[in-house]
Each structure stands twice: as structure tokens, then as C-alpha cells.
Symmetry: C2
Subunit: 197 residues, 2 copies
């Protein structure tokens, strides 16, 4: 329609989550109409982020610093580790300001359907962090799905022998729901209502 550059831009935008061909065309058009003020800044921000952002070698968070800004924050309670499935869940908890400790990003849950086994999750690094000492409680903040519950129970069996308190977020996570779509109040309630196994 307008050359290969436009086709390519629309094709890549259409692969973004929440985008289809129609919304990709709309976004492309908006960007093309403001190349200097909209498109170039976004292109630069993407290139910058792709260059700078890495997984934190301690917790698995995404950050341009390693260790991440949470792991290296002296004001965080280092005796408390909140285990989440993904970085989106970590972001949700941080937005809600409901957790003052550190995190550990599993990178998924056990899933027979998706073929995700123990070796696909960041579990050895979690066990190592607990082993090193200084951790008094591990809060398992996984979604209330079948896979989330399976993973919660499996992790509890792994962590208990290390002499650490293991709790899971309780009341507040709706059945079948994912953490990163919950409102702040629900997230706060879920964290408060955590219970030790």
C-alpha cells in the first residue's frame, strides 16, 4: 500500500498482545503521522530497553541494573521473599505497595499441559537464596489456578526442609484468576491473609 516499511511496521505491531491487524494499522498510522514526535522516540526507547534491560541474576526481575533496583534497595526487608510466576505479577505487587521484602520470579508454573517441569523454573536459585541464610519467610504468591496450586504445594515440600516459614497468599485471589489483574486492595488483602503451611 505504501511500501515495504509500512507493511513491515503494521505486521510487527499486529503481534503485540492486545493488538490485531486493525488496531495495528491504526497505531501505525498515528505513528507515521508524527514520525519525529512519536515514532522515533518509541523506536529509541525500544532499542534502549532491549540493550539495557536484563534479568536480575538474583531474583529474575527485569531491570537495567543487575542486581535489580529491588534486590539492591537497602530499605527492603531481606528476610522476606515473595515468589511470583512472572515479572508482570511482581509489577502488580509493586504498584500496590503491599510487599516490603524481596521477590523471586519463577518464570512459570509447573504445567502438565504446557509441558513445564521443575527444570524449566528458577527453583535452584530460590533454594540457594534460602540456603544462604537470612531468609525467615517465603511467601508463595502464585495464581489460584490448578497449576498455581500444584506449584505452591510442590515448592512447599522443597522449602519446608530448609527450616524457613513457607506461606501462601490466601483470601482475595479469586478462583482461576491471575495476580496481575487484581486491584491493589485485593492484593493487599491476599498478602495480609497469607497463612503458614
Amino acid at each position: 500500500m505504501g511500501g515495504p516499511e509500512i507493511e513491515r511496521l503494521i505486521g510487527l505491531l499486529a503481534k503485540l498482545p492486545g493488538f490485531g491487524p486493525r488496531s495495528a494499522r491504526r497505531a501505525a498510522l498515528r505513528l507515521l503521522q508524527q514520525p519525529e514526535s512519536r515514532m522515533l522516540p518509541l523506536a529509541v526507547a525500544m532499542a534502549e530497553a532491549a540493550r539495557a534491560v536484563k534479568s536480575c541474576s538474583l531474583c529474575g526481575n527485569l531491570d537495567s541494573a543487575d542486581p535489580c533496583s529491588i534486590c539492591s534497595d537497602p530499605h527492603r526487608d531481606r528476610s522476606l521473599i515473595c515468589v511470583v510466576e512472572g515479572v508482570g505479577d511482581l509489577w502488580a505487587l509493586e504498584r500496590a505497595h503491599v510487599h516490603r521484602g524481596l521477590y523471586h520470579v519463577l518464570g512459570g508454573t509447573l504445567s502438565a499441559l504446557a509441558g513445564t517441569g521443575p527444570d524449566d523454573l528458577n527453583v535452584p536459585s530460590l533454594l540457594a537464596r534460602v540456603h544462604e541464610g537470612g531468609v525467615s519467610e517465603v511467601i508463595l504468591a502464585l495464581g489460584a489456578t490448578v497449576d498455581g496450586a500444584t506449584t505452591t504445594h510442590w515448592l512447599t515440600e522443597k522449602l519446608k526442609p530448609l527450616g524457613v516459614t513457607v506461606s501462601r497468599v490466601g483470601q482475595g485471589v479469586p478462583m482461576g484468576g491471575a495476580l496481575d489483574v487484581l486491584d491493589d486492595g485485593t492484593l493487599a488483602a491476599a498478602l495480609r491473609a497469607r497463612r503458614p503451611f
Copy 2:
């Protein structure tokens, strides 16, 4: 949360049409998780498009070639000019394969509310193209809004004295509707049912 690069990326994504803070975070996360295979290609495509794509100096279409690929296509009927409000409308008509002539992009419609007057539209260049000769019909394909109808009538008055047939797309454009959300069949019907003034 993860450094200024991530905040900046989310902030810019959130300004895309159809995106809000939540969908911007989701898109950013997806891109950050695949920096090499997703984010860098999109960044490059944006930079390339911003560099290459310009407004066609003849018709106002967006293209990396000038004149655009439509204006320079020897197979298009050069005696027929379809006038549209924006490039999105041109894209819609091209996807529907319902117009074999050339286009002219007005860049808006007359609008008292938006303060868009005759001087804000690409009308002199349209009149010049008709003046040059070789044009037998100008099809006005503006939306069936109050502003669209006002602009259609105003343009008709301008074009008629030049001795060219002026028609407007008719049956098919729903009241209050914009052209670029219509299905192909409706667009084809609207074009077939055009009538001369």
C-alpha cells in the same frame, strides 16, 4: 520498577491509540522478554519507517516513494480521483480493491468545532490536479457525518466550475459512520452507488 528504560517504554506505548497503561505494560513485558526477536525488529522497523515514509507530493498518501506507489502505477485509471479524508480511508478502500483510479487525501474535513477551515485542507493541490486536465470524475468519499457532508457540498461547488463530473459515495455508508471501519462489501456498494451532483 525496573529502571528508567522500562518506565519510558511503557509511557510511550500507553500513548498508542487503543492502548492504556495496562495494555502498555503487557506489551512492554512481552517485548522485554524477547528483546532480540521482538523488540529490536520493531524498533528498527519504526526507525526505518520514520526515515523513509513521506506524504506523496501529488495525492497526500503515505509511502516510502514519492510520488507514491499508487500515483506512479501505470495500471491505475488516472481520469478518476477519489477524495478521502485521511490515509486510513485510502487504506480501507485499497484493502477492499474497489477503486482503480487515483486518490487525493484531504487531511481532514471542514469542522467548525475542530476549527478546521478551507486553508487546513489539501484543496489547492486537488484543484490544480483537475485543472491540469485528464481528470473526468472526482469521487468524494467522505464520511457520512455532518462535517463530511458539509465538506462534500463545499468541494462540489469548487469542482463543478472546472467542468469535471463530481460524484459522492452513496448508499452503504451508515449515518454517522467513518469509512475506515466498513467491511469490503459495504465499501464496494458505496462506490458502485455513487451519483453525480
